[in-house]
């Protein structure tokens, strides 16, 4: 589903990604962990070209991400959820969710609203359709953001620390939505600090440090028997 070959990214002369090779299979849930500044967000953002790689190749669902047309095409298939939600504050929840399907997929308003209501039901917010984002709690906003991304019917979902900006009591409601999404077979790449969630939901765990994938494998194996010194060090600090 996602194929990344020798991906490098520098900001000025600071190399943040130092040759990443990664293949994500359909329906696979890949969880990415690592210290702050290790390049996790940059890696994720290269998967939909919000960050343009310095070199290397990214292919999503058979579309190579090069050139404006291809990138827009691929983005239709890649949903992204941000740490700070990034909902459109001047639009109602319903309008937030229906805008892109109508403008990009050219779906009729009726159909877009029908899909939006189904998704809002799914994330437990059907009663908030007419609310504006600033009126919602953080957890509610993030669930709307997930529904907004899903409304495009993407084949892959990217999550960049979706619960890091939330009060502790709201983390679970968002993780639960993500869990049910994983159970339905969505392909997902998730950057998170929620180790319990990573262990439970991830098919594969990726430990990233200083712009490289240091270690990867089934979450239980990596958590219980880390092989690399840097992974052990990281776990000793956070667990």
């Amino acid at each position: 589903m996602i194929d990344i070959k020798d991906l490098r990214k520098s900001f000025e002369d600071h190399e943040v990604l130092k040759g990443i090779n990664l293949h994500i299979n359909p329906k696979e849930v890949v969880v990415i962990i690592g210290p702050s500044g290790s390049g996790k967000s940059t890696l994720l953002r290269c998967m939909n070209m919000l960050e343009v790689p310095t070199s290397g190749k990214v292919v999503v669902d058979g579309i190579e991400l090069n050139g404006e047309a291809n990138i827009n095409k691929a983005r239709e298939e890649i949903g992204m959820v941000f740490q700070r939600f990034n909902l459109f504050p001047h639009m109602t929840v319903l309008e937030n969710i229906t805008l892109a399907p109508m403008k990009v997929r050219k779906i009729s308003k009726e159909e877009a609203e029908k899909t939006a209501m189904e998704l809002l039901n799914q994330v437990g917010l059907a009663d908030k359709a007419e609310a504006y984002p600033p009126q919602l709690s953080g957890g509610q906003q993030q669930r709307v953001a997930i529904a907004r991304a899903l409304a495009m019917k993407p084949k892959v979902m990217l999550f960049d620390e979706p619960t890091s900006a939330l009060d502790p009591e709201m983390v679970k409601e968002v993780l639960d939505v993500m869990k049910s999404l994983a159970n339905k077979g969505m392909t997902m790449a998730i950057v998170t600090h929620e180790m319990g969630f990573a262990r439970e939901v991830g098919d594969r765990l990726l430990f990233v440090d200083e712009g490289q994938i240091i270690e990867q494998g089934p979450p239980k194996d990596v958590f219980d028997n880390p092989k690399e010194e840097r992974t052990k060090l990281f776990f000793s600090k956070i667990l």
Binding site: R75, I78, F88, K103
Partner: protein, 218 residues
């Protein structure tokens, strides 16, 4: 010193007519300036380098030369190039509108840049193009933020529109001059003219404050 109140009262209706014309050219010029300013402001931050440069040249030229000279260029110099007379009304609105466009462009640019980058990223990540994201997400939010500076621009232009009196266009200032030529009542007429300008600018700033409040609560 003598102050002729009768002259003030007699001249007032004529001056108010002039004020009406001042409002008309200001409104039309601001309208033109808004359209120009929106496109130039967006061009100024687009990722197409030639567009960006053109917009920068436009803004620099119009903000770096006096409006009076721009009015002369359009009213006296342009006809020589076109080999055709330019109507004073058209010249006045074109000069003021093009000039205002440069200031509005900078207001728009600042308003757009004040919007969180995450908004553009969210729009783009949903597959929308840069233009679609600008149109449906960024510009509508920028509009809310730029109402106060746009109001200031409206006020500045209303005052600057007095400059078009030099090409004989009969707005408020020109009316005043014409009445003085007949009556020699400099003191009475210039004071009246000043009071009318003041009333108009105060009214506009009140209106802008009201709109700002309405938008904030919505």
């Amino acid at each position: 010193m003598s102050f002729n109140f009768d002259l003030v009262i007699q001249s007032f209706p004529l001056l108010l007519l002039g004020a009406g014309i001042t409002i008309k050219i200001t409104a039309l010029s601001v309208g033109l300036g808004m359209i120009i300013g929106m496109f130039v402001g967006i061009a100024r931050i687009s990722h197409v380098a030639p567009l960006r440069m053109l917009a920068a040249v436009y803004i620099d030229f119009l903000r770096g030369t006096p409006l009076l000279v721009q009015i002369f260029l359009i009213y006296f110099a342009l006809p020589i190039m076109l080999d055709q007379r330019v109507d004073p009304f058209v010249a006045a609105i074109t000069a003021c509108g093009i000039n205002s466009g440069a200031y509005v462009a900078e207001i728009f640019r600042a308003g757009i840049q004040a919007i969180d980058d995450g908004q553009m990223e969210a729009g783009r990540s949903l597959g929308m193009t840069w233009v679609q994201t600008m149109r449906y997400i960024i510009v509508p939010q920028a509009f809310k933020n730029i109402i106060p500076p746009l109001g200031n621009e409206f006020i500045a232009l209303l005052k600057d529109s007095s400059l078009v009196s030099v090409i004989g266009f009969e707005e408020l200032t020109r009316r005043g001059q014409l009445i003085i030529a007949r009556t020699y009542g400099s003191l009475e007429i210039w004071l009246s003219v000043a009071v009318i300008y003041l009333a108009m600018t105060l009214a506009i700033s009140r209106l802008v404050a009201y709109m700002e409040k309405r938008l904030k609560t919505s």
